[in-house]
Point group: C2
Chain length 414, copies 2
């Protein structure tokens, strides 16, 4: 095993990498309708008030609030109807004393009006006067100009990954060309003499490459442009050549090593030759996934993940995805763990060894009292369907010394 094999915590491993990463500063502009899931490359600041004018929040009558003072069902007040505030324009008239204007939800208030009486609390008389049955306060049922955002307000921060509701916010501000981070290009290489591509029928002793497709799918979901560079045999020189060529076209490289010690050593030696600063660490205090290599070449992250698919998936999620998020300019908390943890109640004890962060696949069920119950599935880490059958993974923190049934625990859903 490599002399570099030392064991550090996943948090430390991530922070060692963060310290030497360069940012990918490529920005591109995408139309609003294709911006979901992309990461803002610049902050969005409101340049106009939102809404741009005071609007009615109800169907009713625009009034001057103090003129309704004391109005009630038993003691109504009467206002003369001065006109109607039509949708889509500013009323040409102003409210004179003793008058009101018919208004619909969303229409601009006429000058002189500062509140709306909802239609249910009025009667329109045959005389053309409006009987007001309730007193309203200044601003009642009015959305003030700039109530949502004032010019200069931060609307969305740089590094924010856009959700569908954010697209609505950008539409409101008129941001139809959205400045986003270009997707980091990630090269993925599978190694292993026993591997064939998923589309090939394995011969006796061969198996299909799971990690290439799996890692590309995870990184694609995270916002990368992942490309599989194929399967390379367990040979240091061939792997070095393939890795160097792939990295030359990419912002990051992920090699899933063969599972055996000798295959891992091959990977470590090949990755060590790629450039400076080189291998940062080999071995992480995490289960599954201990024999992971983290390296950096000229500011670009390079990973050697274990060959078995469960370990590869967990370490890809735990270290590679946060690194991609850094390259995209997203805020990533210390240690790299995402904010997506959800609390769930553990259904049975989970033992663990102190000094190591453990991950266990779980299925989630609605539990009693509004909680989510997490049921650990102690599957062998080589079996990809033990992950496929799970809803997420349970994190057993480094020094928890195991978790007990009934505890609230941290779950990361797939």
């Amino acid at each position: 095993m490599s002399e570099l094999f030392t064991v550090v915590s996943p948090d430390d491993a991530f922070e060692r990498l963060r310290a030497v990463l360069a940012s990918v500063a490529r920005i591109e502009s995408v139309p609003l309708e294709r911006a979901v899931g992309r990461t803002l490359a610049r902050e969005i600041v409101a340049s106009e008030p939102l809404p741009p004018f005071a609007r009615s929040a109800m169907d009713g009558y625009a009034v001057c609030a103090r003129e309704t003072h004391g109005a009630s069902e038993s003691s109504p007040i009467y206002l003369r109807l001065a006109g109607e505030a039509l949708m889509g324009m500013l009323p040409a008239f102003a409210l004179a004393a003793g008058t009101c204007a018919r208004i619909h939800t969303g229409a601009a208030l006429p000058r002189g009006a500062d509140a709306v009486v909802m239609v249910e609390e009025t009667n329109l008389l045959e005389s053309g006067d409006v009987e007001v049955l309730a007193s309203v306060a200044c601003g009642e049922d009015v959305i003030q100009a700039a109530e949502d955002l004032a010019p200069g307000d931060l609307a969305l921060a740089a590094g924010h990954r856009l959700r569908p509701i954010d697209i609505g916010g950008l539409a409101a501000l008129g941001v139809v060309d959205v400045p986003v981070a270009a997707p980091p290009r990630v090269a993925v290489i599978s190694t292993g003499d026993e591997l064939v591509a998923p589309g090939v029928q394995p011969r006796a002793g061969e198996i299909r490459d799971v990690n290439g497709a799996l890692i590309c799918a995870m990184l694609g979901e995270a916002g990368a442009q992942a490309r599989h560079y194929g399967i390379v045999e367990d040979d240091e020189h061939r792997l070095f050549a393939a890795a160097a060529a792939a990295l030359a076209q990419s912002d990051a490289l992920v090699v899933t090593a063969g599972s055996s010690v000798s295959a891992r050593d091959t990977t470590a030696r090949a990755l060590a030759r790629l450039g400076e600063p080189g291998i940062l660490l080999h071995g992480i205090a995490v289960k599954p996934g201990k024999p992971t290599i983290v390296a950096c070449v000229a500011g670009r992250p390079v990973f050697g993940l274990p060959g078995n698919p469960v370990s590869a998936a967990v370490l890809c999620w735990r270290l590679v995805v946060p690194a991609i998020r850094l390259l995209l300019g997203q805020p990533v908390s210390v240690g790299g763990l995402g904010a997506a943890a959800r609390a769930a109640r553990l259904t049975k004890n989970v033992p663990s060894r102190s000094g190591r962060e453990d991950y266990v696949p779980v299925t989630l069920m609605l539990g009693a009292g509004g909680t989510t119950d997490a049921q650990p599935t102690f599957a062998k880490s080589n079996l990809i369907f033990s992950l496929v059958r799970s809803d997420g993974i349970l994190r057993v923190p480094r020094d928890a010394g195991g978790l007990r049934a009934g505890e609230l625990v941290e779950i990361y859903a797939w």
Copy 2:
């Protein structure tokens, strides 16, 4: 207000719609690398054992377990090295009595072997014999053929939305062309005399259309092919013509109505003319979003959502997204609520009226004791940035009569 205006629960509204929907039975095949997020149109059954042969889970020596019986550090047993099980092929030799074979993680066991002794519990002697320092049980450190999946086992169910880890499972099975549901085509129309497209500078009294982009983004994320058919003024005949033309090209239609009562009536009358069975209900016991219209035309769902963006977003999520999931063939629970609820602890009291399902935007924070805390943000429902600033929405169940600080509550993250 329309005579059809009756108020039913969101669950009932969804089930009335489900009862009259036709399925979209278009299936397409996509390459594995583009299958994330797509919905399986057919179940995937394993046609081969996975793994296809018994494999070693460790680096070490393949043995016949009973020959190691009684071995220990103080009393080792000795086996003759018969050869090496190479990666990617079935060993040509079988283990004779008293022999073992060098093996790496992932390699196929030779015939006659039924367990692996890890290398750390052996010594290779200069004589070529292997000293075994521990006894192993039959099957120890072996992954049996078909241990993950046996031929005929269900690997993934029809209607399952593919996650990145599922892509790994499909790769393992050699499913490189994935049968998925074609995305339902959803037409989205915005109505309102005050609206201009997001790319247009509004004049006085006008505002930008938020809902068109917002609804398309939400439905796109849900797996639909959403297309915005533009802004139509509040005119029954024009809206009918636009809606009929859009629906003729689509599997579903969403109209976001103007917010005023008159605009809603226009929408209701236009939608009522589209075809049978027509409007199923007008008015839902939900806040925000009460003035929602649910209709069906020749098996295709049609929605009239409120004009204000917060109501439109909540009702799109609550009713339209589950309808899209039905069209995709996904399993949707009774009432349409997704399984994505997470439990969080409420930080302050939330009042609600009995008989109505309420939704309140919340921000989420890591709380004490491993819980997530949900902080309600009581914003006006017309302000899109009150949603943009939230992490999700809190559901106040129909007859909860409000929720109290400290309770575990249901959160749906955006």
